[in-house]
Symmetry: D2
Subunit: 260 residues, 4 copies
């Protein structure tokens, strides 16, 4: 099996300069860990806990930023899509379109995403069993597009809490599609801060280690130079300064376990 692919970037896109600054650091960290990488950013946070949360740059500006990053760094780029009508424009720029977890059963969105021919990363709904993700994949595959990834990002566990079930990785891998572990959203505490979502940044590496030891095709890690002041998902983003060391440790585990 190939080394894990890193999918990294800020939760919410802030500006081209900000994206460029993070991409430089992610590129250096990924290169030092000898892992391929994809730049990830969201131009629209469409399901913030509360209306007061910032939503982002919007599609037009956002796709421009992503195309610039792609051009400058030569890296693939990923963004998430929330409506069928957004898939075609996002697919013109992005190498990977991501289906948000809440939307993983919305047939029209899955079909529209699939029809772009781009790779599609489907996040497993917090309400879904891993063995049921095959039905989401089938919807995309029905468009003739089998470039599908299935992503574990935590499952509802009582109120305001998620739990990561690592059996989900081999179970979803039985579909034959590569499996992604999202180490950022797996440590979310939904609604844990009243009008916004809390998180447990201190467990990002813990869960990522588990995922790599079990076997994962890709790791999804959101990162920021100042998570505590980031516009969204700050409590669960990894400080960019920590990324190089974390990636190297994870790469060592990955190299070992993929060879076992």
């Amino acid at each position: 099996a190939a080394p894990y692919m890193l999918i990294a970037g800020p939760c919410q896109m802030e500006s081209l300069d900000h994206a460029r600054m993070l991409a430089e650091k992610i590129a250096a960290a990924a290169e030092a860990a000898n892992r391929p990488w994809v730049f990830k950013a969201s131009y629209d946070k469409a399901n913030r806990s509360s209306l007061k949360g910032k939503r982002g740059l919007g599609m037009e500006k956002g796709l421009h930023v992503l195309s610039e990053i792609k051009r400058e760094f030569g890296c693939p780029v990923l963004t998430d899509v929330h409506e069928p009508g957004h898939c075609a424009p996002a697919g013109e720029v992005c190498d990977i379109l991501q289906i948000p977890a809440f939307l993983c059963r919305q047939t029209d969105l899955l079909l529209a995403a699939g029809e772009t021919g781009r790779a599609i990363n489907i996040k497993k709904g917090q309400f879904l069993a891993p063995w049921d993700m095959v039905h989401a994949a089938d919807k995309v595959a029905s468009t003739g597009n089998d470039r599908i990834m299935l992503c574990e990002r935590g499952t509802s566990f009582g109120y305001n809490a998620l739990v990561s079930d690592f059996r989900a990785l081999p179970i979803m891998a039985q579909t034959g599609y590569p499996v992604v572990f999202d180490a950022t959203h797996s440590v979310q505490q939904p609604g844990g801060q009243g009008g916004s979502t809390g998180g447990q940044r201190e467990f990002v590496e813990t869960l990522a280690r588990a995922a790599v030891a079990v076997g994962t095709a890709a790791l999804f890690i959101e990162t920021h130079e100042d998570p505590d002041n980031a516009p969204s998902d700050g409590p669960n983003m990894l400080p960019i300064q920590d990324l190089p060391a974390v990636l190297k440790r994870l790469a060592q585990i990955d190299d070992l376990t993929k060879g076992l």
Copy 2:
């Protein structure tokens, strides 16, 4: 407090004749139980478990059926909406627009629904705590529309299972908005039949009794003349033949508990 309002109809709209046949029986049962009623039907099942599931009549035909039922029976009608762009046309016909549980955090959908000025029934996501529904309501209310209902329909409980927490009714009622109990989807077993969703029809009345005893402004019950052969949600729909007796028992509990 007023008697509970019944929201009833088939899960999936099949035809005008079929809707009319059910509406007649629902009207008779609601009248006999002395409860107001709303006709409910979905013209598009946008998040079927699998692609093979039938999706329904589509928006144009569906809204025509609903407007006919409304005209013939003089009853309010409800349907669910899945994309912001569908809210305005659905709002021209429907008295109540319903936000599906998976979509209860999609800001654009909540805003577009709110802007129709129609009453909005927001289903609580299976992944959401009842105290977090206030943020969904706030999104709708930000449009100046405070005709909001909050609906309990079960919470994720391990894989392929839901549980109904009856504390959710008084907790959501603290918002000041009326609370609805959906006795049909609360007995769903998501993914419980492989490519489709299972259900426990035998507990519809059990859970509805609990809701009425605790106090609910409305009951949501899907019903069909032949649930085992219905195009969707058959395992958890109540046979229409049982509706009159169930409604009467529930009305007696409602009359008692609202007077306590």
Copy 3:
């Protein structure tokens, strides 16, 4: 079906005078609501969250208090047992022996309890499905004692939380044994106060109403004249002052629903 039987008393026995004071008030409230009642008290809290929690009077003094209450009030009495060796002495005094939820699979305890010939109230473990309680009952029944009650008291729901599943009542009733709803422990928040267990007293009546509407043979309610200063389970005990009104409301629902 017969009216619900009330099982009530303090969580932890404090003294004969205290037990007598509560028993008088419980007797009056039960009589006013026209329900039979059982006095309940624990002489040993054997599984406190922390070692600092008070454990109680001990078996000898405790059984003396219970026998006095029984003699003075002519009521049946219930206590919980934690080791096989305690069943015989407790069974000499008590009409009902209760198996704590954590211990509902301890075969020796169930057998020793069954062998007393007394009625046995088995609490469903927080970790157990309602359909699995038949195996606990079978252990007791194997002693030739079929005077068994099965008691719902909440199920683990993430960390530090319980949820009450009202489907459990009809499911456990399929065994043919009477089902009890414990409205006190169902509102516990295990570990919710660090070294002790929290609770949501405000939902005792909410959940008890649901249980009575669904159908329950007995209600278990712990009560105290000053719950906030009680030695255990204060956060979820009902103030004794509230008991008469609560019981009357519940009796009205019970009378109605048992006649439906």
Copy 4:
């Protein structure tokens, strides 16, 4: 940190010959993987799902078998205790006494175990949060015995299911006590086979890898030469033939991650 200690043996002790046969194979596998090992066996399965399940050799014979294994192999031995009165005799033979998960809050059992001076392995209840295990440890420590281990073995996740939360390992390690991961009971499906407990043997290594990558002081693995015909926990025991290869892979991950 030291290499993980292996705790292995059959779920249920069958005979001295059987124990010896397994101990030989475990010794060889542990030695080949360069890990210290402890022989584990239960002489009394005190909480079988159903009364029909076999309970084992009993204390007297069981302790004899354990003392023979200890003498012949020079290894430490572990057994589980279910009543306070069993701790002293079990403590005369065993190096480690284990508190079953269901009993992790039974104060008298924890105290009696602590008083033996032996190391105490406390399994985390399926109903308990990892941060609440400190209270169980404190009960043992109050006896002056701080040779305590805290063991993750899965948490209730809906009905008939467990989930392993790997955040629990670092959280419990904050107590300063070594943490054990029980890879056998973490793949149990409680009640999953009607009157007995099911399991997912295929995930033993998956979860053990995750535990070792996250960091664990010990691994608990039940094993048998013919799990499908073992008297208990067959569905989740690892075939002894697979143990050498599994241990070696886990040892390599352990060597790497303990050095990171």
